[in-house]
């Protein structure tokens, strides 16, 4: 079981802020995102950052990062402004 939290505008594809999902053995981040948002995964332009247990997935293997039972995945929306 993994928990997925989607903040602000990033929750749109899932329709809710928090989900708990069963994942297959060997699942990767991209697989989990497809479970959340459908076969195409997260729509382009919907996430500014994806964190796995508080660490940006870019510091691991990006969308190919292996996901383990008990992981917390957080998806941050884009932020206009500046």
């Amino acid at each position: 079981m993994v928990r997925v939290r989607l903040y602000g505008g990033a929750r749109k594809p899932a329709g809710q802020e928090e989900l708990e999902l069963e994942i297959a053995a060997g699942a990767r981040l991209a697989d989990v995102l497809r479970q959340v948002a459908g076969p195409a995964g997260l729509p382009a332009g919907s996430a500014s950052a994806i964190l796995i247990n508080g660490r940006n997935c870019a510091f691991r293997e990006g969308p190919a990062t292996p996901i383990a039972d008990g992981d917390l995945i957080e998806v941050l929306p884009i932020v206009t402004g500046g």
Partner: protein
Amino acid sequence: MKRYLLRVNLSTGKIKKEEIPAEVLSQYIGGKGLAAWYCYKEIKPGIDALSPENKLMFFVGPLTGVFNVFSRHVIAAKSPQTGTFSDSYAGGWFGAELAKAGWLGIILEGKAKHLSCLKIEGDKATLEDAGQLAGKSVYEVDALFKDYRVATIGPAGEKLVRFAIVANDCTRRQRAGVCGRGGMGAVMGSKNLKAVLVRATGGPDDFLPEDQRPKVAEFRREFVEYLKKEVVPGMGLGGNLPAMQITADAKITPVSNFRRGYDDEYKKVSESAFKEITTGKKTCYLCPVACGVSTKAASGPFAGTELERIEYETVALNGPNCLQYDIGTVVKIGRLCNEYGIDTIAFGGITAFVMEASEKGLIDYKLAWGDGAGQVRLLEAIVRREGLGDLLAEGLAPAARKLGLEAFAVHVKGLEIPGYDVRGPVGMALAYATADRGGDHLRAWTVVAEASSPHTLEGKARLTKDLQDRNAALWTLIGCDNIPANTTGDPAKFTEFSVKGLNILGLEVDLPELLATGERIYNLTRQFNVREGFSRKDDRLPLRLTEKREDTGWRIAPEDFERLLNEYYGLRGWDQEGRPTKATLQRLGIQA
């Protein structure tokens, strides 16, 4: 349309009109580019930023005063806050007036014997005694010269507070502007220069060659349509105030000196709360966007306080970051920072630092979280340089060092970071660490575009580099920052419009050339900093951002950040110490 450089030696009183060499214009165009080139060429390495040897430079760009949203100006120098090259930008009407008077820039050298002001009328300039302006606020100075456009320092600049600002157009019907970051007001104060006044002569478009006017008019109409359709809808109330809701949604609002990234109370200082106290909207020269939000505190201890322009950064740093949720107090802090002439981001960062140190009993000074009257007292102590205020007036980094409290000082290279926690969107962390003027969000606003970059190290590093280069290119023209960051359409369209504007004026630049200019400039400002001794050791995140956040547990591990930095240096063509290699400088045509 030829514009000139005004060189003013404040020590000797000598004033000179200079041509800018054609090859320099071709390589660096205007604005940031010229500021970088002249700073690199003329500011001797290792000088004290507050000595007469520093030079204070104002520049506009080739499109300034011609097309919509190109009304901004830049002020640049070696920063007394960071010791780096520093460039700070302001909207309003001053820049357009300077351009219409026929000037592309001003270089101020030396130090005047007495407090002075520079008065520019068309192509004539004079230095005048300004003793009667001593101690006056930026509002008081502006109101005295209604026939001019005025860029002025307040009392803080005169007192050499290292994060003093230069403000313009403060008491007009139109939008005011502030060159807020990096302490340009302190450099101006160190030169005994209180204000620059400018008035163009002739009609609004007299400076344009007659044969260009019809095409210019036509493109202005096209520009206005684009702005109305793709920019106005993204601006919300203005002042970037929608960012409070967006950063709260993304859990990246700075709360209690960046210990947390979310607080339910944020709604009290959100865009909708500011709507309730908005009294008007103001606009820069030729711009239909009207992003300047004027407010008046309706209740609370500072009811009745008016502020002609408020921005998200002021609110985030002096509001949630100090656990201050009385909207009137935030308005009051903004107003006082402007009156005295200090940077609201720096002041908010410093206040939160003092609050945390006070809470932990690490300093004698008492300042509780959310103590509005205490925030006002601290501000006045800094401007008067009294007690702890005198130390804090030197800036957050040196004050924290002296107090042995560096762990609580949230800055990069001495510049307090703006209102976004970057432990989640790490491209923005790289942007803070590698911004040429220190901890800054505007050189690369990655969080709007991170979504379109791959979620990989290479993707984050490339995005940061590309945006830094693009913005350096756009700031040769000094277009509005708000547009690429807030557009509801493709940000690239603004760059394309900018190139079209140049072509209409007969400047043969295409998009790849413009972007290459941006990369050249970013490497030249890096070279300035390398010459000052900056290297990899300075491209650091504040300790706080490498610690676990108290609410979410997010952090950036130092070893992760090192890998991101390696990726970035590699893409830039810099060595592992962060120095541009000879091959890179040669490729970009930089003679270092």
